[in-house]
């Protein structure tokens, strides 16, 4: 039994609750609309970080194509929002420019808002289920899987640019007004939108944390260390890998949908290789094994990036690249790993002191 405070479950939950409470309290302190929107978008990045931490940190599945679920979710949501603003029988203007005269079949389901939102989550999740199932039953793993996700991501980027009449190509879709749920309109610059995104972020984080602590999470972590051994113990490794990959895809799809709602814009940039890999960088810097630290990684990197501004952007990327190399080389656990070591050191000192006392009083070793 370790006595590192970092591994104490109660303390972990207290820490999670504290962090989430602070994040949730932001609109009470500030009502700057622009800031709230910006922070809500960081919340979306936080969800992405949580999703990567879940499949990479826990399951050891390095997914460099998380943009697939994110982009698909964002596109479905943007299509839904676009159709809300279309009067009956009319089609989005870019379709007219591309020579379509009626709504294509692909767009038909998005005429209904609830179907559209459902599809924004359903399409990416099912894609992950199928893609993950195919890959993991073929025992594609490790770097190969990473390359496959990268290739699939590139394929999506290519096809979304190419299908111009349906996706408006590189220009992407920018719905003219914000999402309406029933009679209420979700203003992306309101505290309501912030709380909405924050609630989803909190829900995803807590759900992922519960998954990690469950029996399922235990097996997932076991197969990260040694899939062969888990297989020999009689578990179907492919099913576990597929499920954890799909769950992370679902979280990314939620993030994508929120992103479209918040920015009212979606383009093939969401499928860019660079974006998907920067999610991995956030998580690596923050700490891949900890959901909340991965989230911090996203906040810190993205926050610092917008703080340094365009003037120092190139120097900043240089620093980011170097720190990423250093973290991978010397600190595979990221910031969380550092905290874990430091906490371990203090508790170890305390234990040694207690140990010395016990030895002094008893004269024999006591194992806790």
């Amino acid at each position: 039994m370790t006595h590192n405070a970092y591994h104490n479950k109660t303390l972990q939950w207290l820490f999670y609750i504290a962090v989430l409470a602070v994040l949730g309290a932001v609109p009470l302190i500030s009502n700057d609309a622009f800031l709230l929107n910006q922070l809500a978008i960081y919340g979306v990045y936080g969800m992405l970080a949580v999703s990567i931490s879940l499949c990479w940190g826990s399951g050891g599945i390095l997914n460099m194509g998380q943009g697939i679920a994110f982009g698909l979710g964002a596109y479905c949501m943007a299509m839904t929002m676009q159709m809300q603003t279309q009067a009956d029988g009319t089609i989005p203007p870019f379709m007219l420019n591309n020579g379509l005269d009626s709504l294509p079949l692909l767009w038909q389901p998005f005429q209904n808002t609830s179907t559209g939102i459902f599809l924004a989550l359903f399409v990416p999740t099912v894609f992950y289920l199928i893609f993950g199932g195919i890959m993991f039953t073929a025992r594609v793993s490790g770097p190969f899987f990473a390359i496959m996700t990268l290739a699939t991501l590139s394929a999506f980027a290519t096809i979304f640019v190419d299908l111009q009449p349906y996706t408006n190509g590189v220009n992407g879709i920018s719905p003219p007004s914000s999402l309406k749920l029933g009679q209420t309109e979700i203003d992306p610059y309101s505290s309501g939108a912030y709380w909405f995104v924050f609630a989803l972020l909190a829900a995803c984080t807590v759900a992922a944390k519960l998954i990690n602590q469950s029996r399922f999470g235990l097996i997932v972590r076991a197969l990260k260390d040694d899939p062969e051994r888990v297989r020999f113990l009689g578990y179907n490794v492919a099913i576990y890998e597929t499920l954890v990959y799909t769950l992370s895809g679902l979280i990314a799809a939620i993030a994508g949908s929120c992103f479209a709602v918040l920015t009212q814009y979606v383009s093939p940039a969401q499928f860019e290789v660079g974006f998907s890999i920067s999610i991995v960088i956030w998580v690596a810097l923050g700490g891949r094994n900890s959901l909340i630290w991965a989230m911090f990684g996203a906040f810190t990197v993205q926050g610092a990036q917008s703080y340094v501004g365009d003037q120092f952007l190139s120097t900043w990327i240089l620093i980011l690249g170097f720190s990423f190399i250093l973290v991978v080389r010397f600190l595979p656990g990221g910031l969380a790993g550092l905290v874990e070591t430091l906490l371990g050191r203090t508790t170890k000192l305390k234990m040694e002191a207690e140990h010395a006392n016990l030895e002094f009083s008893d004269g024999k070793e006591v194992l806790k």
Binding site: L62, A138, A146, T158, D162, S314, L318, F322, F324, V328
Partner: protein, 293 residues
């Protein structure tokens, strides 16, 4: 859709040219991946550095193009050697982390280049006779593309000679098959890895010297090559012959799909085909060492 025989022949030749480009791009990666199992995400940036080396040599020293190619090999090879010595060699038993660390390297290289040379496009000058076109009975192809195919063959022959006709090659193959046993026979496996990595990087430099003349030179030009080069290597299985077959197949298919649909959709089809292929044969066409890494 009517496909005339001329168009078809043209697309075959274009496919050959695409295959040449893929092969040149993937060659250095094949060596590094096939030998050390390292997924080098900075490969595209090595290509980019090769192109910038040629640009710098031409602009500041007026070196003729053909002399620039070997210099690009040496310069980028040396950079690769330094990166291997300072970073990669600590990560050989952590394949996922090598992938990430080399991604960090690529970020630094792109940004460093941008700070030194700026982000405006640069151009590489090539001799007059390379920029003309050959036309034979309705078929046409740029001389430079023929030159790339020629260079692909030369480089392949060179690598084959190194691997199969030199002492160094024997050591590389021994280390590839079993690092520990090779080491117990007195081969300095760390040194072999370093030089293999440098060789792979140098070949990327040559690729850059060629591609720099084919397209404009930009700090981000490497990104376009890396994913495709990877797919070629993984499809090929990490062996030299595998990469050659894979690039030929990918080049021809892409050019053929482009003929019947369009070039973007052709790329998409290729990606899908590769994913499906690797589902059924994850070890690739020709597996370098029999065991899966």
């Amino acid at each position: 859709m009517d496909i005339s025989s001329i168009a078809f022949a043209n697309s075959l030749i274009l496919g050959l040219s695409i295959a040449g480009i893929f092969f040149v791009a993937a060659l250095g990666l094949t060596i590094i991946y096939g030998t050390a199992g390292v997924i080098n995400m900075a490969h595209g940036e090595f290509i980019m550095l090769g192109a910038y080396t040629v640009y710098a040599l031409q602009t500041f020293m007026g070196v003729p193009y053909f002399l620039c190619i070997p210099v690009a090999f040496v310069v980028v090879g040396a950079i690769g050697f330094a990166i291997e010595k300072s970073l990669i060699r600590y990560l050989y038993n952590r394949p996922l982390d090598t992938l990430l660390a080399t991604w960090g390297v690529s970020l630094v290289l792109i940004q460093g280049t941008r700070l030194i040379f700026g982000s405006d496009p640069k151009y590489v000058q090539i001799p007059q006779f390379l920029s003309s076109n050959i036309e034979v009975g309705g078929l046409s192809l740029g001389v430079f593309r023929v030159f790339i195919i020629f260079m692909a063959l030369v480089l392949a022959a060179g690598v084959w000679l190194i691997f199969y006709k030199t002492d160094f090659g024997i050591k590389i193959r021994a280390v590839t098959q079993n690092r520990e046993i090779a080491a117990s026979f007195g081969i300095n496996s760390g040194q072999v890895y370093s030089f293999t990595f440098a060789l792979g990087a140098g070949l990327a430099g040559v690729a850059g010297a060629l591609f720099g003349a084919l397209n404009i030179v930009l700090p981000t030009m490497g990104m376009g090559y890396v994913v495709e080069a990877f797919l070629t290597v993984v499809t090929g299985g990490g062996a030299l012959l595998g990469s050659a077959i894979a690039s030929l197949a990918i080049g021809e298919l892409q050019s053929f799909f482009a003929l019947i649909t369009n070039s973007t959709f052709a790329k998409f089809l290729i990606f899908v085909l590769i994913v499906v292929f690797l589902r059924f044969r994850p070890q690739g066409l020709i597996s370098a060492s029999g065991k899966r890494r």
